[in-house]
Amino acid sequence: MIELRGVTKAWPGGAGVQALDLGVAEGECCALIGPSGCGKTTTLRLVNRLVEPDAGSIRIAGQDALRQDPVQLRRGIGYVIQEGGLFPHRRVGANVATVPALLGWDARRIAARVEEVLALVGLDPAQYRDRWPHQLSGGERQRVGVARALAADPPVLLLDEPFGAVDPLRRAQLQQEVLALLKRLRKTVLLVTHDVQEAVLLGDSLALMRGGRLVQHATPAEMLARPADGFVADFLGADRALTRLGLFRISDAARDAADAPGAPLPEATTLRDALAAMLERGVTALPVAEGGSLTLEAVLRSR
């Protein structure tokens, strides 16, 4: 759905992006990670041509993006930036209506869509439509930002650290909701984040960049299990084995028929949480609510 081939952009100061090959399949979310200044945002802005490449090709939905009118191209791509970028002089409803209005939808269709899309991101339209952006919390602002990006139902979304300005407690919930929403709508997503946990949670694939180059592009499980080099391993963190266990659930692991004592855990529990429960209880086997038990052996084997 999104195809970058040999894309290069040099900034006068340095780095930028060099000979980048990156593909995101339809309906998938690719999480771009890497240290600050490695070119994540530049890559995102190359896709909607806020930055023009020096070389290379960019295809979106089979079309050559570099031959399209950039303004038209951008109206077909959802874009959410870290600070939300809401228009402070427009109410929430008008903010969400931005792209449909640019596309010339009639007023009734716009109003209906604004309601629909606010509800999608978990905001009651009646309560929020007429508020000003400054009357919202950080999390609500990000929700409105996502609603605005979804308003014209674009197949592709670009998210640049969309949860950066949300306090950590709310962030986890917002991440889960957005993940479920994007999966349900089958959007193709390029997500920039510097948070490995967020990338692992939301990304079908991880693309790790360093100094404008793509170092490794793989599924989270693959990258966490087999980092391409020491830099990747360091970036994923010393606890990457634990992070990886968070990708699997008890239902994915081998089950022991024998019963184990203690409070049972549901099958949907991640192996990471199951391991934590074993440590906490000082046991090597846990009962599973759906039947049987999970042993430490089984957790270790699913590495």
Binding site: L50, R74, R75, Y79, Q82, G85, L86, F87, V99, R148
Partner: protein, 205 residues
Amino acid sequence: MIAWLRANPDAFLDALVQHLALSGAGLAIGVALALPAALLLARRPVLAEWVSAGAGVLRTLPSLAVLAALLPLLGVGFTPSVVALALLALPPVLLHALVGLRGAEPAAVEAARGMGFTPLQSLLRVEVPLALPQIFAGLRTAAVQVVSGAALATFIGGGGLGDLVTQGMALLDIAQLQVGAIAIALLSLGTEGGFGWLQRRWERA
């Protein structure tokens, strides 16, 4: 003073109306030139730098010097006075507008571009609305300068409340001189206060 006003109500009103006409015309022309110029310069940062520097110089020139410089070019009377006042109004409006446009919340401007606003749509629908407080502040400064600057129009035959002062001096009529001086001061204060009130009202809205 009161006696002079009672004796010469028409002379006072004529001077006042003339003063307001001079100020209004000068301000209107200055704004009509400065705002479009600011919009044109908003996308040309280097040129904007140069123009800002020029406007800064124009701003520091004493009003009287500007009047005197224009005298050989435009002669005397109402029109040259309006031209001089427009020149006085131009720098504050232009400079404030440029600062406001440059400072428009970068995230909102980035989002506007990223969602497919054309550069003109972004300028008119996002950058200008976000720069309005600055633009209004420029208007307020310009209005006050023009209203007090119009008192000097009398030196090139432009009329206005300044006439009461110069005539009062020539005739050694202290009452007339005082009426002129106090009216000019009150008008300037009133302009400052009026625009400030408008600004506060509008910010609350």
